[in-house]
């Protein structure tokens, strides 16, 4: 058996940090690095080792950026690097198993110019010679409650395979049936291949209370668009509510309550399609709501992404009424719709969100939430308090 050299300890640390950041790497990938090093790759310079890690562990440009930043943080500077290799040679064959080494936090400052202070007023001067700062102390890669992979994986389950397109596949059943019916050798029956025909309409709340969630929502929408493999994904934006101006005369029956629920007047609320969506996230190019619904909503899965008033923790009856009226309009096009709320469930308690969640399947924008949401979009029954 060949002797397995120990890897420099910072590589294990790097591996662990990458795993914590959601990289899909496992023991075999660590082993792959060890194999590659044994085969002679990545020894020429620090950059070569970094590129090797990138090739094996990072599978997109963004991941490569993260890995590079972490590598710069963790890897000792070249002089120490040489030294640590020799140290490992000495340990060779000692312990082939991978054990987490004590953290090597002494990544030295690569810039050798040490700031000096001048003593004034009799105080002792301060030296920064022993303070060790990494060249890239921060990793400027956003980390959201949901990773790109999680969203992508979940949304791939939204499928509606339909045979469509050119006739290329042999339909054995029909061919046999036809021949036995006619009793002569007829031509074979061909059928198109299956394709995912699921369509999705994303309606995203923007600005105001949604401001803090813009980046997160963008990330989620991008992941769905890129990874969903759907036939069509339409994305439109709105502010607070997709439709406005529901007839508030129905509310007169609810007088006397401070925080009225809509239950008694629910049947009287008329579907509402007046309003504008926006094609761009800055809400500058309006599109009539009814056009969007007609083009994209019929038979499609619809996802609303909004805090539903939970961010400001307010209860506004007009918002609730407009939302319910819009949902009623949406129901004339499709029965597959969900609401995703970027705020966790505990924030919905005493505001409009809690009321909307009684009528519309609403899920927090987190791992379990989107899984349940996709289940609902796939047609799974979900019990809500007061369906529309």
């Amino acid at each position: 058996m060949s002797v397995t050299p120990m890897l420099p300890p910072f590589l294990w640390q790097l591996f662990e940090r990458l795993r914590r950041r959601g990289f899909a790497i496992g023991p075999t990938d660590y082993e792959a690095l060890r194999q590659a090093l044994r085969a002679g790759f990545g020894w020429t310079s620090r950059e070569a080792l970094r590129d090797l890690c990138n090739a094996l562990w990072a599978k997109s440009r963004r991941e490569q950026e993260t890995l590079t930043a972490l590598f710069e943080q963790l890897a000792p500077d070249p002089d120490d690097w040489q030294y640590s290799l020799e140290a490992d040679d000495a340990l060779e064959g000692d312990a082939p198993s991978v054990t987490p080494e004590s953290p090597d936090l002494e990544a030295k400052a690569p810039n050798k110019t040490v700031p000096k202070t001048e003593s004034q007023g009799g105080l002792p001067s301060i030296s920064l010679a022993d303070v060790k700062v990494s060249e890239r102390p921060f990793v400027f890669v956003p980390q959201f409650p949901l990773t790109y992979r999680e969203v992508a994986q979940t949304w791939r389950r939204l499928r509606r395979p339909v045979r469509t397109g050119a006739l290329v596949e042999l339909d054995i059943e029909s061919t046999i049936a036809r021949r036995s019916r006619l009793g002569v050798a007829t031509t074979v029956v061909l059928q198109p291949r299956r394709r995912n025909m699921a369509r999705l309409l994303l309606l995203v709340d923007r600005q105001g209370s949604m401001d803090p969630f813009h980046r997160f929502c963008d990330e989620v929408c991008t992941a769905i668009q890129q990874a969903g493999r759907l036939e069509e994904t339409a994305l439109y934006y709105f502010h607070n509510v997709p439709a406005e101006g529901a007839d508030d005369q129905v509310l007169e029956a609810l007088t006397g309550q401070l925080f009225p629920a809509l239950d008694p007047v629910l049947p009287q609320i008329q579907p509402l399609m007046d309003g504008c969506l926006y094609a761009d996230p800055a809400l500058l190019s309006p599109v009539p709501l009814i056009d969007v619904l007609q083009s994209y909503a019929a038979g499609a899965a619809v996802v609303l992404l909004s805090d539903a008033g939970a961010a400001r923790n307010r209860y506004r009856i007009s918002r609730l009424l407009d939302t319910i009226a819009f949902m009623k309009a949406l129901r004339t096009y499709t029965s597959h719709y969900v609401w995703l709320n970027p705020l966790p469930r505990r924030y919905w308690l005493h505001n409009t969100a809690a009321q909307i969640a009684r009528h519309v399947p609403m899920f927090p924008l987190e791992r379990e939430g989107i899984q349940q949401a996709v289940n609902v979009l796939r047609g799974q029954q979900r019990i809500i308090e007061k369906p529309l």
Binding site: T28, A39, F41, K59, Q153, N196, A227
Partner: protein
């Protein structure tokens, strides 16, 4: 994921690519069944290519570990041509598979022509009894069969993201084990075997149109091909591609680097630059005219981009 033997006996970087002859006789890859011995050869012209050191290293690593090399990069930066260059450098036949939206993973291995067999059976042809007559090996299938005969191949799976999501997932087992069995004819079994020097060298290109499944990504070596970042490097690329007029190419590089600074919806890439310079050289365009962006259609493919570029260069 099975652990694989490492093989460093073959590498791309030790080969001085620019010193290879302009043509070479290489085994003809399209023959099915793959001949066991003395395969016929065909003359292949050398692919003009200038890989940088990082890319060479990535190719070596992929060959040594026996994993597919997943290439990403701007359109037209030479992802596909790398496979041609490596195949030429190593003198191996190149099996290509250009993926379409209807491609299935099984097509890479083999296709079974059930319809023809049915017709043949109808008219009483004797060979319709033998299912093997109706099995056609696909590109990866031929590469594995060739390895069984002791010869190596390079396999190119181009634009894998065009296919359905199942495509990369369905390939996992075959890429891992490098063996497959024909379901319709179970006695047909192809396997690369133990010798790592026979493993097909697989290149997969990917346009970022759609994300690939994590399980597939894990098995690949990843490399992103950058646009050449320096003027000198671009000049080398143009020289490699046999652009002889040095003054013209210098000016063209200047223009393209400037264009890439602009906020365009599609930045001109390497292949656009080569098209443009090639044409300008052929029509002997005066160098001073380049600032007015003649034949801009070769560089920028959108009207808004073209307008913006012309305005920006006119302001200078």
């Amino acid at each position: 994921m099975s652990k694989r033997a490492i093989d460093t006996s073959t590498g791309f970087s030790p080969i001085a690519y620019d010193q290879l002859p302009d043509t070479q006789a290489i085994e003809n890859p399209d023959l099915d069944p793959v001949p066991a011995t003395d395969p016929p050869t065909q003359t292949i012209a050398k692919e003009l290519y200038l890989p940088d050191d990082k890319l060479k290293e990535a190719v070596d690593l992929a060959i040594a570990l026996g994993r597919p090399l997943l290439l990403q990069g701007e359109p037209g930066c030479g992802k596909t041509r790398l496979a041609y260059a490596v195949a030429y450098a190593l003198g191996l036949p190149l099996e290509t598979s250009y993926i379409k939206s209807t491609s299935r993973a099984q097509d890479l291995l083999y296709t079974y022509d059930a319809v023809n067999r049915l017709y043949d059976a109808q008219i009483g042809k004797a060979e319709s009894q033998d299912v093997k007559q109706y099995i056609r090996l696909g590109p990866l299938g031929r590469a594995i069969a060739r390895a069984q005969h002791g010869r190596r191949s390079v396999v190119l799976i181009d634009e894998i993201d065009k296919a359905d999501l199942d495509f990369p997932n369905d390939l996992l087992w075959e890429l891992d084990r490098l063996e497959f069995r024909v379901t319709e004819a179970p006695e047909l079994h192809y396997a690369v075997g133990e010798n790592p020097a026979l493993r097909p060298i697989v290149f997969v290109t990917h346009n970022e149109e759609k994300a690939l499944p994590a399980a597939f990504l894990r098995r690949c070596i990843f490399h992103y091909i950058e646009f050449p970042n320096s003027e000198e490097r671009l000049q080398q690329v143009l020289t490699t591609q046999q652009v002889k007029n040095a003054d013209l190419s210098r000016k063209a590089i200047e223009v393209i680097l400037e264009l890439r600074q602009l906020d365009l919806s599609k930045k001109p890439g390497l292949s656009e630059l080569l098209d443009w310079v090639g044409y300008l050289e052929a029509v002997e365009k005066p160098i001073a005219d380049l600032d007015r962006l003649p034949s801009i259609g070769a560089l920028l493919k959108q009207e808004s981009d073209q307008k913006r570029a012309i305005e920006a260069l006119a302001q200078k």
